[in-house]
Symmetry: D2
Subunit: 155 residues, 4 copies
Amino acid sequence: MNETTVTLVGNVATGVEYRETPMGGVARFRFAVTARRWLREQAAWADGGTSFYTVSAWRALGANLAASVTVGDPLVVHGRLRVREEERDGRRKTFVDVDAVAAGHDLSRGTAAFRRAVRPVAAAERPSDDAQSQSGMEASVTPAPPSVEAPTPVF
Amino acid sequence: MNETTVTLVGNVATGVEYRETPMGGVARFRFAVTARRWLREQAAWADGGTSFYTVSAWRALGANLAASVTVGDPLVVHGRLRVREEERDGRRKTFVDVDAVAAGHDLSRGTAAFRRAVRPVAAAERPSDDAQSQSGMEASVTPAPPSVEAPTPVF
Amino acid sequence: MNETTVTLVGNVATGVEYRETPMGGVARFRFAVTARRWLREQAAWADGGTSFYTVSAWRALGANLAASVTVGDPLVVHGRLRVREEERDGRRKTFVDVDAVAAGHDLSRGTAAFRRAVRPVAAAERPSDDAQSQSGMEASVTPAPPSVEAPTPVF
Amino acid sequence: MNETTVTLVGNVATGVEYRETPMGGVARFRFAVTARRWLREQAAWADGGTSFYTVSAWRALGANLAASVTVGDPLVVHGRLRVREEERDGRRKTFVDVDAVAAGHDLSRGTAAFRRAVRPVAAAERPSDDAQSQSGMEASVTPAPPSVEAPTPVF
């Protein structure tokens, strides 16, 4: 409830750090989004500055990101946004986190050879619930892949 | 103004059709999104049905999608949503279109080897404006890649 | 999981129909979104056509919409998008539905006098879960209002 | 291009500050979003913490927000997200800004009496372009209200 969802289109700004935790593996990296806007009067693009986010990805998404992504790669990242304020070294710091739900290389910048993961029978390959990826306290159920009946193409 | 932006997480449901037009190349395919929800009382997942969309992608994104994607592939698609109604064969039909701005293989389902496109010096590799991808009537400017100064990782 | 969330900015296109159901009250209306885009070369706005959606709102949101909204009102509607296909009169028809999670009058078009609902002690005033608003099969818990500690304004 | 759009559902956390600038009036306030998640195993809601944003709204939206909103009001805010880092007093500070495009009282929490603004003939009542609200350097054109032909209700 009241989750804030964002989709970021930008570039990986730091190496992907991957580590195992009792709740499953997690990948983390900084992500840079540079907006551009068209200025009508000047008929020119203006650079809107670069926004940096810390992206976390759990379990299968985290492992696959760690295996597939390097610094500079263009990505589309879809996830939950959160802004945290914490004391660090006696100072109040602000952290802007995105807990990724789905992410992939942005094909407007290049091509990709994709290899689908083989699903282990009983394992939790994919965060199967919103709450889970943060709490890690729940049994995970691998959802069946969506049965896509080939629809008549309608263009 | 008043654009409706969506991010779809789902699977390619038909082959990608790619064709050249005077406004540049365009890729089109049907895309299936199957939502699942957690039912609290029953403590079970409910399938929310499958929604189908027609995705269009212009220029570099279209060409790279055509080169990288096959039926069944899991994708993240970010773009502009539009619902059109048209007479066809004497009947009113409804079309639900997404004009993709960015898209990539969903790494929660597998791994990808990404190859960045080499940018031609003067060519329009990327739709550089919202209006353009539909109107195709504008000169295109290849935006400079964002200059990502490596930031200090802050986790 | 894989929910498609949208935010629509547009106008109420039909009267709000409100009815009681065993799962609680529901308001329904058609909603029109007209996108405009800036055409760079022509230096003019292009009308991107009008998209129509059927918006449903359950319980408190539905009742308050029915009490507050009339045809033509500009709204911001945030909710879950779904595209359904059904046989009707021997024809396949497409329905584009938004199950609203939050909605309000767009203050870029006018002013509003808001009156907060008094929360009944034990009642479920607000859809407290995603699944609930459609399934209606779960006990509802009124979430405590967010305790907003007045933060130091940082501009 | 690469704009990050968000929709925030939460509460106004500070008084709305409104001031005139050479580029038009602007309203600013802090906004609090408290996410809640359903923990499956515990069958309970978890509070996901409160995220704070600084919302800016220009011109008509700013003036109408200033006239309609008080601390604590529940709002839906739709706009462009930006994360800025700046030196202040010798320290690096992070600012999380949302430039609102549309916003309204969340009718899941109460009712509203809306009064549509009378549009001055030649005035710029509404930010008519993305770039404008930040650059303020462009002539503004009041878009004609969308001509909503009453559609046949299809539920």
